[in-house]
């Protein structure tokens, strides 16, 4: 039999619907999934910021600055998206750190035991992400975001190195100012911090100091 009218009707409508479905599955649905991811990540970080009001706003700054550093380092859009998610998620583990430790005791009175309790949050956060398949790929980043560059457990992954530099910079900058924070980075570059990332951060800060953002920052602990 030769192709007839019905054949072409079926063929063309199947082709049309397939085209639409391809677009739907390739463009619209991934966008939708991405929105859901962003939303739930936002919910997690809101929870942590409510628990520790002193961290409020820090997450947003870390996120913005690390994306800029990532761009400076030449990461592609997908990597930047993951970096931004990881920057927002990095502290989810804080929900298991005692409330009083962070809220009622200044950091300079912490004992080394307190510090090690505090730094547990990276492991706990990554264990939580392990349980969420759609965010599982970010678990190693969260686990290592306080690991030093010359860690004896091997080189931390790149996103984690970026987050480490950016969070430390903002942490010191918040209480001691930009100048000392930069000095802190330069002093520890190569041991605590990845020199490449430090260079990128300094370049970003110099090219666009973003004074307004710094002024809006919340006072130190």
């Amino acid at each position: 039999m030769k192709p007839d009218g019905l054949f072409w009707i079926v063929f063309l409508s199947a082709a049309g619907i397939t085209g639409w479905l391809y677009f739907y599955a390739k463009v619209w649905l991934p966008k939708h999934l991405d929105e859901r991811l962003q939303e739930s990540v936002k919910a997690f970080s809101t929870a942590v910021e409510l628990r520790f009001p002193s961290h409020a706003g820090l997450s947003a700054r870390v996120e913005k600055l690390s994306v800029r550093v990532g761009r400076q380092l030449g990461l592609n859009e997908n990597q930047l998206r993951d970096l931004s998610l990881a920057a927002t998620l990095r502290d989810v583990g804080l929900c298991s750190i005692p409330y009083a430790l962070v809220n009622h005791r200044p950091v300079n009175t912490w004992s080394s035991a307190d510090f090690s309790t505090y730094f547990q949050h990276a492991k706990i956060g990554s264990a939580m992400l392990e349980m969420i398949p759609s965010l599982r790929r970010l678990a190693p980043v969260v686990a290592q975001h306080h690991e030093p560059y010359d860690s004896k457990d091997g080189l931390p992954n790149r996103h984690a190195r970026i987050l480490h530099v950016v969070t430390d910079y903002l942490w010191v900058e918040r209480r001691q100012g930009d100048f000392l924070a930069r000095k802190h980075l330069k002093d520890l570059s190569g041991t605590e911090f990845d020199p490449e990332v430090v260079q990128a951060l300094l370049a970003v800060l110099t090219s666009n100091p973003d004074v307004k953002e710094r002024e809006a920052a919340i006072p130190a602990l």
Partner: protein, 435 residues
Amino acid sequence: MRQAATIKQRQANRLAVAHRLLILLTGTALLGIVAMRFRASMPDQLPIAAALILFATSLAAESVPVELSRRGLRLTFTLPFVAAMAVIVGPIYAVALDTINTVLMATLYPRFVGKSNSPVWVGLNAAISANSCVIGSAVLVATRNLSGGGVPEIEALAFMLGYGASNLLLISHLESVLSDRPPSESLTRSLRLGALSFGLYALTGLLVVELCVKASPFLVPLALIPVLSLRRAIRIQTEIYDHYYETIAALSQMLRHAHPYTHGHLERVAIAAEEVARRLGMSAPHARLVREAAVLHDIGKIAVSEDVLDKPAKLDPVEMEHVRCHSEWGAEILEPVKPLQALVPWIRHHHERPDGAGYPDRLPDEKIPVESKIIAVVDAFDAMTGGPGPGQQRTYRAPRTVQDALAELERCSGTQFDPQVVKAFREVVEEGYAV
């Protein structure tokens, strides 16, 4: 302990049910095949090229399933090719094709992804496929006899209709038997899943038949394009669907990290909340949301100091104020999550009281969402009874018996709780939920 026992028992039950179904379904499939042998006419000459290509393509389609892990289902996309096989080559070949495909992939696929699959489930899957195929073929033969033959498109549609309907019914039945849920529920879930795909699916089936009959069978693999697009769409949708539950689980896990006790036996009580919602006339999806709200209602306590929450003595006004923030904070945490938008006001108001003495907004009775009232009752019951394990009891109150707790709820109904909700909750508890 009790729970472990019931899980074991349920597993044994499941296996027994599976065996019984396997024997039954194999029987009906064999009977169907025998009946078909006599009723269906055989083509004089086998279109070998078409048969081989259909077999290869359907195997390719079968090898890329979508796992619906939450439901323990694996979706495959072979129906268009099986239908074409039934129409062009013959129903018996379609049965053979589908059964071979299912057995092959059910055995091989778990190896690839590193899972195990017991022979019972392989057999059960194959038996379900064979049965659906037999019923599809019966519908096909009936249509062929009615129309006098010669319209392959209608025959293909008839086959897919018979196959799809019987497959849906069998799977839903199996699912409901295995998960102790009413069959209607899993059927509606299956239908929703199928609604998107069935139109395109039927069209693809037609396309395969048209290509075979009016063009060349060698073009059949083209039909893999719509099938693979459909697969991709369903896979991402599944991911979105799973992510929703993962978000809820992760949030409640954060709460559990912050305050180990808060969780208690909330999971079980959440089921009771869903049941109460059903009894108050809410639809199944809405009641499902109430259940999630019951799980998440104390999420704001992530931001409350555990020292205050666990304080054995009475709270001073400042501490009270601090604890009372949790309903607002919970709403604030859920605010950005679009699929959970409906829960935001429910959680914000779950400490409002019908007499207007609640917090945070001191709403009058008629302005409190009924979902919040359900959560209030469930939460109070949870707080009063507590679990037997360490960390499951609230420190500020000794646990009471279920009867005491119910009596207390009734004493406060009208002032602190909504009488209708308390009444419904009592029924639900007496039927064995929540304890």
